[in-house]
């Protein structure tokens, strides 16, 4: 019998396989070590940076006159990150003074070039800083970034445009809000809430979209709900009048704040979608009158847990309905599910 030896093709293949993976592994180990060294160096550098730059920047923010040290090229990004950090936390005079500091240090042109050529992280920071600085010179670049492949960068560009000139930005940004479904909702909501102008324009857009029954309405309504506008929304009435979509109606019902909408809400009490009934139960709890008590009791007999739960909550929280009336309802109802639910919600309201 022969020996399986090194000359055998399978053994040779195995050898090369092993050799090449060990070589690549060595390269990887080298990379890991280099990365770690780089990280340690960067940490050291950033603590030196903080020591040198934080005190003058803090004094500047508080309005003291300061002479800044010379800005080395390798401190630039750290300074930008630090400035953005303060930008996001402060407003008013303090924020203006950060911008003054950035002007004195002549970072404007540098930021504009980073916005175009930096790494993604650097561009994100530059875009944010330029927005807070209300730098009109970067308007066109920011505008072109609205269509950038990176959702993070494009949404930040949008926000910076709004910070620079909310009115002009609204007409540019709103169509992109509609078309770019990749924009992370939390960022989008923050952006809209931050600017009163954009928020008004956005709500008007939603009102138009309702008129035209745009297919993307559900997403817009989710945004409206997340924004929680602190103002009457007349378009809700239109939405409740014309829409047949359970999701849209539910969203509309959740947004009702006006007693004048009561009839529209009542009209949906028998909706075939249980999800809509849940919202009717909640809305009646907010706006309902004594005339709605029988309606809520009827909803309390629903086969859906959430309808019963919301109806019970609404009944118990109605300001004009005392505990006695609730006890009376419990006594009068024949449906054990409705009774259990009222008892549960009562227990919930009693325990803190």
């Amino acid at each position: 019998m022969e020996f399986v030896a090194l000359s055998d093709p399978s053994v040779r293949l195995a050898f090369w396989l092993g050799a090449s993976s060990v070589t690549i592994t060595l390269i990887l180990i080298f990379r890991v070590v280099m990365l770690r060294l780089f990280l340690l160096r960067r940490e050291r550098h950033s603590s030196q940076f903080t020591e040198r730059w934080q005190p003058p920047l803090l004094r500047c923010i508080m309005g003291d006159h300061v002479e800044f040290p010379t800005l080395h090229a390798n401190d630039e990004m750290d300074l930008i990150y630090l400035a953005v950090h303060f930008h996001e936390t402060l407003r008013g005079d303090a924020k203006d003074r950060i911008n003054q500091a950035l002007q004195i240090l002549e970072l404007g042109p540098r930021l504009r070039s980073i916005l175009q050529d930096g790494s993604l992280d650097e561009r994100l920071a530059a875009a944010t800083a330029l927005g807070h600085m209300q730098d009109h010179l970067s308007w066109d670049v920011l505008k072109s970034l609205l269509n950038d492949g990176s959702s993070a960068l494009s949404v930040i560009a949008a926000r910076s445009l709004v910070l620079i000139d909310a009115e002009a930005a609204s007409t540019l940004v709103i169509p992109v809000i509609i078309s770019r479904r990749d924009w992370p909702t939390p960022k989008l909501v923050t952006m809209i809430k931050e600017s009163a102008v954009l928020q008004q324009e956005f709500l008007q857009q939603v009102a138009r979209d309702i008129q035209h029954r745009q297919p993307y309405l559900p997403r817009m309504m989710r945004l409206v709900e997340a924004i929680r506008p602190n103002q009457p929304l007349p378009f809700i009435r239109d939405l409740l009048n014309i829409s047949d979509d359970a999701e849209l109606i539910s969203a509309g019902l959740r947004l009702t704040r006006d007693p004048e909408d009561l009839d529209l809400i009542r009209g949906r009490a028998d909706d075939r979608h249980l999800a809509v009934q849940v919202q009717v139960a909640s809305a009646l709890g907010r706006l309902g009158t004594e005339a709605d008590v029988p309606r809520l009791i009827a909803l309390l007999n629903s086969r859906e847990w959430w309808v019963r739960y919301r109806a019970a909550q609404s009944l118990i929280n109605l300001p004009f309905l005392g505990r006695d009336s609730i006890t009376q309802i419990i006594g009068e109802t024949n449906d054990p599910f409705a009774r259990d639910m009222l008892k549960q919600v009562l227990a919930e309201t009693v325990t803190p």
């Binding site: 803090l58 936390t89 402060l90 008013g92």
Partner: protein, 134 residues
């Protein structure tokens, strides 16, 4: 009437986990002639509440903190006999109604939303200090 000059040695406990912001607050209040004690997370704050021989005159705290959050700390301050009654000013990025209500229910004296204005914050802190003295 008590004025700012009546509280030269007021001690403020700052509970803030974000280093640049903590540095800013420390600098800002030092500049106002106030004495500052820093805590960088909920645990540090908790042990200060338990061990400080004399409670500070005011607590300035963030809500989102590592390990123990600001709400829990407000509760601890409220339930500590030596600390009860010390004004706690919340400085937080949380701007929702429910959070603000919850903070006040837990005994917060004031609530400032981030992004904030430095002079406004100083004025609010001064106001709490003078109220306490008078």
């Amino acid at each position: 009437m008590a004025t700012a000059s009546n509280t030269p040695h007021a001690r403020i406990l700052i509970i803030e986990d974000d280093p640049p912001i903590a540095a800013l607050l420390e600098f800002m209040l030092n500049r106002e002639g106030l004495q500052v004690i820093m805590a960088a997370d909920g645990n540090q704050a908790q042990s200060l509440i338990a061990t400080l021989p004399q409670p500070p005159d005011l607590v300035l705290l963030d809500l989102m903190l590592p390990f123990i959050d600001g709400f829990e700390l407000l509760d601890q301050i409220h339930n500590n006999p030596a600390w009860r009654g010390i004004p706690a000013v919340v400085l937080s990025a949380k701007s929702q109604e429910q959070d603000i209500v919850r903070a006040f229910n837990l005994g917060a004296a004031d609530y400032v939303v981030k992004p904030f204005q430095t002079n406004e914050l100083i004025a609010r802190i001064r106001h709490q200090l003078t109220r306490r003295r008078s």
